[in-house]
Symmetry: C2
Subunit: 145 residues, 2 copies
Amino acid sequence: MILEKKKAFNEFAAAKGLRSTRQRDIILDFFLSTHQHVSVEELYLKIKASHPGIGHATVYRTLKLFTEAGLAREILLHDGQTRYEHALAGEHHDHLVCTGCNAIIEFEDETIEKLQKEIATRHGFMIRSHKLEIYGLCAECRAAQ
Amino acid sequence: MILEKKKAFNEFAAAKGLRSTRQRDIILDFFLSTHQHVSVEELYLKIKASHPGIGHATVYRTLKLFTEAGLAREILLHDGQTRYEHALAGEHHDHLVCTGCNAIIEFEDETIEKLQKEIATRHGFMIRSHKLEIYGLCAECRAAQ
DNA sequence: TATGCTTTTGATTTTCAATTTCAATTGTGT
DNA sequence: ACACAATTGAAATTGAAAATCAAAAGCATA
Ligand SMILES: [Mn+2]
Ligand SMILES: [Mn+2]
Ligand SMILES: [Zn+2]
Ligand SMILES: [Zn+2]
């Protein structure tokens, strides 16, 4: 799993003529070992603990590279922080976001996806991407009210 | 239409103990006479032309008030600028956003709304709001390719 | 292994939207 | 008119993200 992702990134880097650097290896290791939906700052701080030399800019740049390589997906929720999640080829999902505890629940709905395509067709629109986010309170936060 | 909105805001202001000010009247007039999905900066510049004294901060603050009052809805698309649209009581819609010409097409789909509720229920989640944005190219931008 | 060229890095600066600050101004009840 | 709280707006601040650029590192070649 992790090895496959590393291989995929190496192939992407080779195809693009990118150099292999210690920093990119470290950032990839940390990214692959995080939970989903990590923010750049969170990842940066985690890395900094054991690799104090690595800078903000490199983390920002490298996550963009991972996205380009298809390993990561950028998530922009309503809190002004860009987050990244692990992207799996051919996989797509949307998010339920708890405004109480910031938990994120993933879901997929084939019917919703299909209806979106129909709406786009009806308007002569060609879909490139979409985002569906449902904000509210998760079961625990509702109980804690 | 416009008079009703003004009345609605006055009632909200009265209930909240807000004072009636020249600035809020002006900003409301301009907001009500704009097209949909206006950014704060766009609205500020429009107002500034005839009312140079009005400041950024007041426009920001007042649009937040309109949102609280239910006259406006905040829209955060992928361009880093908060936009506001006219909110109509009981009305909801989502957006097709053209990345070519920045056109925004509105749509409603009862089935999608219903499916979202079902998904939320399945996860014990209480919905407070949601956003569905479909990004891509509108018919004209496709043709112009 | 050394050379030379190019990419990459990271401290720092810059950007930009949005918010905060706070002294001056304004609205409102008395 | 007065008192006092709310409001305003210029300016400063914030925070995320991008840009800058000299130094460091990677890599092809000798
Ligand atoms: Mn996810
Ligand atoms: Mn709209
Ligand atoms: Zn929660
Ligand atoms: Zn278009």
